[in-house]
């Protein structure tokens, strides 16, 4: 009976994951197609679209120009905005502790607004602001936009870690002669390391895969990879885009898995120190 129940459970889990991951699965499968156009199921398997992608990367012209530039933009944009969001988010989470639990709760709600509202609304809002201010470089606009979008994740994960931190540890440090800054450096930050790193990771992931905000703020050649894919998609649909998506997916997975190897999944979600 138990065996049978386990079988059903396995079947259910299998179906669950197939449904969950099917969009990714179809992209990955399509990327290995030997067809000229995107179709599913592919008639044959090949690596030709990966070769095509490699070719595009080094050729600036053609129907799909600017791939290298957009990948480079995505990498820098996601790393820089995640770094900024981490510094600001950790500072915000630490600052929230100086308020009463009531005020801190209200302030935290405000800090979370950017991820609670539709990104289209945030995007339009940012567009209006930036055009009102005028003359801002595209990089400034993209970085600010992504910073606003990603910082809340850092606040959430860092606050969660801080709530689990035993206040006696910080008091012990102070009692032993550590001032505020040294208590922070020697005890508080090391103890909430996992929360900070998982926040930074979420921030990077959010920025790296973001389309909506980027779409409102990019201009010219400075367009992050998801926007580039969308733009190209309007003119040509061939499996090289699936190949690019697979590469991006793989990059994300590699980052997540190496973070997991360093921290452990338990630490990543803040369950284990």
């Amino acid at each position: 009976m138990t065996v049978q129940r386990q079988k059903w459970l396995s079947a259910y889990l299998f179906l669950f994951f197939v449904c969950l991951e099917s969009p990714l699965l179809i992209i990955v499968l399509t990327s290995f197609s030997s067809d000229e156009t995107v179709s599913f199921p592919p008639a044959g398997l090949s690596l030709r679209w990966y070769a095509d992608l490699w070719h595009q990367l080094w050729n600036q012209g053609g129907v799909k120009p600017g791939l290298a530039m957009s990948l480079w933009t995505s990498v820098w944009l996601s790393v820089l905005s995640a770094a900024g969001a981490t510094v600001a988010g950790v500072a915000a989470a630490l600052g929230l502790r100086f308020f009463s639990s009531r005020s801190a709760g209200i302030l935290k709600q405000y800090l979370l607004f950017p991820i609670l509202f539709p990104q289209v609304v945030i995007g339009i809002g940012l567009l209006l602001w930036f055009s009102a201010l005028g003359g801002m470089p595209v990089w400034t606009k993209l970085l600010l936009g992504h910073f606003i979008l990603t910082m809340p994740y850092v606040v959430v994960t860092t606050s969660a870690s801080l709530e689990m931190l035993d206040p006696a540890l910080e008091e012990a440090a102070m009692n032993l002669g550590a001032n505020f800054v040294r208590t922070l450096g020697h005890v508080t930050l090391p103890m909430i390391r996992a929360g900070i790193l998982s926040g930074a990771l979420f921030a990077w992931l959010t920025s790296f895969s973001n389309f909506t905000i980027s779409f409102f703020l990019y201009s010219g050649e400075t367009r992050p990879a998801p926007v580039w894919i969308f733009e190209v998609l309007q003119f040509v649909i061939d499996p090289s885009l699936a190949a690019l998506s697979t590469v991006l997916l793989l990059t994300t997975l590699v980052v997540l898995f190496s973070a997991n190897r360093i921290l452990g999944i338990g630490r990543l979600v803040g369950l284990r120190r």
Partner: protein, 373 residues
């Protein structure tokens, strides 16, 4: 006149009229005491009595609303915690989980920017004192509760604190280990000549480790004295009931007094009882006569009491054998029942059960203490 005293001129710690109100309640109200160098003092009281708040004010984690805290004569009331140099041993030890034993113990020295050789020597010395040498590289989670406590003590000793604050330090240990750690900590404190303030709700623990107890209740100090003082001469009903067990008999002091030595009072059953004046904190009006179960003398009904007076007739309702002693529940009337503790080998002399359960109770006047009702 010159008063000779063995106390040094400056107390290690002096707390003057300390008060703290939290939003909805008064945690500590007008608390004052002095701790002399080398003393081991317990702040004793039920939870919520203000003892922990007092300790946290001394450590600097709670700012008092009123009053002063003097450490060796210096006013530290407004000092931040990291500049106080008082060593706090936390209830859960609060060892840094991301540091080894060695790093934990050396933390205070690193904060004082001591040289690495000095830090090493001092860490070794402190770990040696708490018998933890050889476990330097362990992480806190690899240690037993008793070992964690030793590291916590070594950590404040290494940092050079001469005043130790112990917040319920034994409550997370099992009973057997608790006793040996109490003895160990007390020995260590005496060898090093440091001063310790110990917070607990456990009166036995306080009596076991401390030479002086400060009993707190509802934010105030009830009594400050040795364990014997508190046991024999409790100042209030609260202290009388908190320290050990006791019998309380309601009564009213008579207008005309017996003599200089004794005070006479009536109890509800109508009998008149004498109590010595020396032990009593009130001598007029409605009172509670307090007497310890082991101070009550019991004999067979009709037997001659050791002295005249203070003899009451009672009925044994319950007899509880506890090994060396036996507790008798003796009813004087419908409402008043006394607990009497006698040696178990004296029970047979009472002839209980054979003819009747009636006994004579004698309350020695010098063992009765009158407390305000």
């Amino acid at each position: 006149m010159i008063v000779m005293t063995d106390k040094p001129a400056i107390p290690e710690l002096e707390v003057c009229a300390l008060s703290k109100r939290f939003r909805d309640s008064t945690a500590v109200q007008d608390v004052s005491f002095r701790i002399w160098p080398g003393e081991f003092v317990s702040l004793l009281g039920p939870s919520g009595c203000g003892k922990t708040t007092t300790l946290r004010m001394i450590a600097g984690f709670v700012t008092p609303d009123e009053g002063q805290i003097l450490l060796r004569g210096q006013d530290i009331t407004r000092f931040p915690p990291h500049r106080r140099k008082v060593g706090l041993v936390f209830q859960n030890y609060a060892l840094f989980p991301h540091m080894s034993v060695e790093q934990n113990v050396g933390f205070g020295l690193r904060m004082q920017r001591a040289s690495s050789s000095q830090t090493r020597d001092r860490v070794n010395w402190a770990l040696n004192r708490v018998r933890m040498s050889g476990l330097e590289k362990r992480r806190p989670h690899e240690l037993s509760g008793g070992q964690q406590q030793r590291v916590a003590v070594a950590r404040v000793l290494a940092a050079g604190a001469s005043l130790l604050l112990l917040d319920e330090p034994f409550s997370n240990l099992d009973a057997k280990l608790r006793h040996s750690m109490q003895i160990e900590l007390r020995d260590l404190q005496q060898q090093l000549g440091v001063t310790a303030i110990h917070v607990t709700h456990d009166q036995e623990e306080a009596m076991a480790v401390s030479e002086r107890l400060i009993v707190m209740n509802a934010g105030r100090t009830e009594q400050d004295g040795s364990a014997e003082d508190l046991y024999i001469r409790p100042a209030s009903q609260f202290v009388a009931n908190f320290i050990g067990y006791g019998n309380r008999i309601r009564g009213r002091v008579q207008q005309e007094q017996a003599n200089a030595e004794f005070v006479r009072f009536d109890i509800e059953s109508g009998a008149t009882i004498l109590a010595s004046r020396a032990n009593s904190s009130v001598l007029t009006g409605r009172i509670i006569a307090f007497v310890r179960p082991e101070d009550v003398i019991v004999g067979p009904a009709g037997s001659h009491p050791p002295e005249k007076g203070n003899v009451l007739r009672g009925t044994v309702r319950r007899k509880v054998f506890l090994g060396p002693t036996t507790t008798l529940h003796v009813a004087l009337n419908e409402r008043t029942e006394l607990f009497v503790k006698i040696a178990s080998n004296a029970v047979s002399a009472l002839n209980l059960g054979s003819s009747s359960d009636t006994v004579d109770i004698w309350l020695p006047p010098e063992r009765i203490r009158l407390l305000p009702d």
